[in-house]
Amino acid sequence: MAGINGSMAHLSDTLFTTAIATYALAMVGYTAEYSFGKKELRSGAKVATPARELVGAGAPVLEKSPGFGEPPASAPAVRGSFAEKIGRWSVVLMVFGVLVHAGSIAVRGFAVDAVPWSNMYEFASVAGLVGVLAFLIVLWKAPSIRRLGGFILLPVIVLMFLAGTVWYSRAQPLVPALQSYWLAIHVTLAAVSEGAFMTSAVLTFLYLLSARHARRPLKSTRLATLVSRLPSAETLDKAAYRVVAFSFPLYTVAVICGAIWAEAAWGRYWGWDPKETWAFIVWVIYACYLHARATAGWKGRAAAWINLTGFGAITFNFLVVNIVVSGLHSYAGLS
């Protein structure tokens, strides 16, 4: 085990800060597109086609916003409108941010000579990257979700800001218990499956919003506009389920790999360490979700709330159990 390469660790930190700044710029761009394009969307919502085909208004700022669902006033179909351009540049910025972000993680990995997700700062950084990457992959397939870029970047930036300030820990070698190839397997599976659960939670939240709007139209025009751009409630619900159908087996494998590793490192495969207990709780809640979707009377909104509860438990496991509760999994690197 060699020591730490200080200059590389420093480079990694610089890249991390650059990535946050780039994301912040991209978020400003997305938000600009959202607000300048708002009128287009309101007027053009009925067209329900990808953003690049939406009609744009010449001077949206000056115009009085028409109400939701009103027919377009006098919108000349300008393909490369101002909002459109900003949106495209935001994607470019986001891609650049991802490259810098990935560079930061890779350089950190070289600096510590191990997989760089062994403490809270590193895990949060990787989770943020997974989130942005997932968005870009979906964007590739469905360009219309570009308008939601700001909504994805906001939690990522908050997460990375907390990681870089509150949870930051300098690059250091792995403690003996973490020196195992299971670190790469167990933690990667946990990060990917939990990232997917997060995606499912976002979809579920949007489903609930959409279902609520269908039952009783939302008062806020802003929210109503957002809902109008979303796929149907049924589609969102199904999509949320499909993501869980993918991540639940993955999470199960993550927990099993954790148990195999615990057997080698701590002498038992399961010991109700707080992190293990919460992994169990999360697993049981998502099992509830899957069962609820197959049970009359629990489908739809009840199941959706169980999904959100599951993500709440994941968040609790990441934040509270890492920071407040002490146990064998105390690798947060905070002191």
């Binding site: 003996p176 038992r268 207990t277 509830c288 979707r293 049970t295 509760v325």
Partner: protein, 513 residues
């Protein structure tokens, strides 16, 4: 009526299972937030004494050993029963379904979620055969003829979804049973040995011995292996004092008759013997001292000190030297070991790093009666109730301090000690298989798409003046699981059925509910 009853029973059992699952998740929460006796008995004790009646109440209802409490056990046993009750009929149904031909086509195919129809010039029988080929091996197809003369094809696929579902649940039940069996037959012993010492796998030799029920009843015979010698323990640290590697070189005998072998046990790399695993779980320092007793005799002693601070390994321990019986001239020493001493002033040393660099042994020396004839004492505690303190000192290696009554203490050096844990769980290998089966089952249960498609092929009277009769094909489809996009799948299948099998076909109408 019996269908209704079956449906109702299924509904209730699923609901019950759902509620029980919820309760299970909820019941686990206090187990992570309150201190738990199996993990940290000291913390539990201090929690109870800090919280008075509330603490005693929590203790009474098992909140400090949640996972062994009656209510937690009750929830998972109920869940277990509910699961068995749900699985048995489902396994029966599924084995029947596996043998049974796909259901006959419903009367009105256009009522199904996906449906369409087209015409073809092929004769009905001809087309039915072609469609069968087009569907291929992944669909189970049953050909029927209706009284009207129409041919129907009932096609179904995705049986492995339910197979996977059942496999998962059966594997889960097996896993629970294996965990229980493992617990009954398991044992866990831990022991502290100093460099140069050894131990054998015998319950009485362990400092701590946690047997499962059958091991406690003597039904499990620990394998007779011995770690004969801890040859060398090595701890490496980074320059800033972070641990990099701990490893213990040991000599061992897998059985009484086998020859001695050598191996290295380190974190993440236990020694695996037949049925038993030996782990390196902790380490510390054992200072060596030479004590001149009041009667002039000289004692050499070494005692394992317990680390008080895991990051600096500042450690505490005691030496007990019994004098002549009844003379009340015993010597007791409370010791404080700082591997890298940091002078806090006033004669108090702490440690600034777990690395050993000119260590200091701080001592409080007591003279009198060690009270060893009373209740059994911990080797790490000193009963000073019948003793008087005759002095204190901070010694470097090689230094001697003389006290009253002719007593002197020399700090000779130190040896490392390690704590080793021996674990035995005969079921855990099988448990791994059950876990793998669970994952495979889940993948089938959540990944396989269960679909039903029906075709009704009938000949229609010739149109207009043309005398060539033609065939009408109606198709209806149903997704029996949420996965995938059935609409897209259905259109693709429709396209294949339409184009793949007939020279000319004409889409009559596509309907979607």
């Amino acid at each position: 009526m019996s269908w209704l009853r079956l449906g109702w029973r299924k509904l209730t059992s699923m609901r019950t299972a759902l509620v029980l699952l919820f309760l299970l998740a909820l019941a686990a929460v206090p187990g992570s937030l309150l201190p738990q006796t199996p993990l940290n008995p000291e913390k539990v004790k201090s929690y109870i004494s800090d919280h008075g009646a509330w603490g005693r109440f929590l203790d009474k209802i098992g909140m400090f050993d949640v996972f062994a409490s009656a209510w937690f056990t009750a929830i998972y046993l109920l869940l277990f029963v509910s699961l068995v009750g749900c699985l048995i009929p489902r396994i029966r149904l599924h084995t029947k379904a596996l043998r049974r031909a796909p259901l006959a086509a419903p009367r009105n195919l256009s009522r199904l979620p996906e449906s369409s129809s087209f015409t073809t010039t092929a004769a009905p029988g001809e087309y039915a055969a072609a469609a069968r080929t087009t569907l291929g091996r992944r669909w189970r197809v049953e050909r029927r003829e209706e009284p009207s003369g129409a041919i129907t094809l009932s096609a179904e696929k995705g049986y492995s979804r339910e197979t996977g579902n059942l496999l998962f649940h059966v594997a889960l039940l097996s896993a629970l049973v294996l965990i229980a069996i493992g617990k009954l037959y398991s044992y866990q012993g831990s022991v502290i040995i100093q460099q140069g010492q050894g131990f054998c796998n015998t319950p009485v030799l362990y400092d701590s011995w946690k047997p499962g029920r059958f091991a406690a009843e003597g039904k499990v015979h620990p394998a007779p292996f011995c770690i004969t010698d801890l040859s060398k323990f090595t701890a490496t640290y980074s320059s800033s004092g972070e641990p990099l590697q701990f490893s213990a070189k040991v000599q061992y005998k897998p059985s009484l008759t086998s020859s001695t072998r050598t191996t290295t046990i380190s974190v993440n790399h236990p020694l695996r013997l037949e049925g038993d695993r030996v782990y390196l779980i902790g380490h510390g320092f054992a200072p060596q001292v030479t004590i001149r007793m009041p009667d002039g005799s000289v004692r050499h002693d070494v005692s394992s000190f317990i680390p008080q601070d895991p990051s600096t390994l500042y450690s505490e321990g005691v030496f007990k030297e019994q004098g002549v019986d009844g003379a009340k001239q015993d010597i007791g020493i409370q010791g404080f070991f700082a591997p890298t001493p940091h002078d806090n002033g006033g004669g108090v040393f702490t440690s600034s790093s777990p690395k050993v660099d000119n260590p200091v042994l701080g001592i409080f020396v007591w003279f009198g009666d060690l009270n060893l004839n009373g209740l059994p004492q911990s080797v790490y505690d000193l009963d000073t109730s019948k003793m008087t303190k005759i002095g204190t000192a901070n010694l470097k290696i090689g230094e001697t301090r003389t006290f009253s009554n002719g007593v002197s203490v020399t700090f000779d050096g130190w040896v490392p000690w390690v704590s080793m844990q021996v674990s035995h769980d005969p079921a855990q290998g099988y448990l791994l298989f059950a876990a793998i089966a669970m994952v495979l089952g889940l993948m089938g249960s959540l990944g396989v798409r269960r679909r039903r498609v029906w075709l009704r092929i009938s000949s229609a009277p010739a149109r207009g003046g043309s005398d060539s009769s033609h065939t009408v094909v109606q198709i209806g489809g149903l997704a029996r699981s949420d996965s995938g996009n059935f609409s897209a799948e259905f259109s693709a299948l429709l396209e294949r059925l339409r184009s793949g099998s007939a020279p000319t076909s004409e889409l009559v109408g596509a309907g979607k509910e």
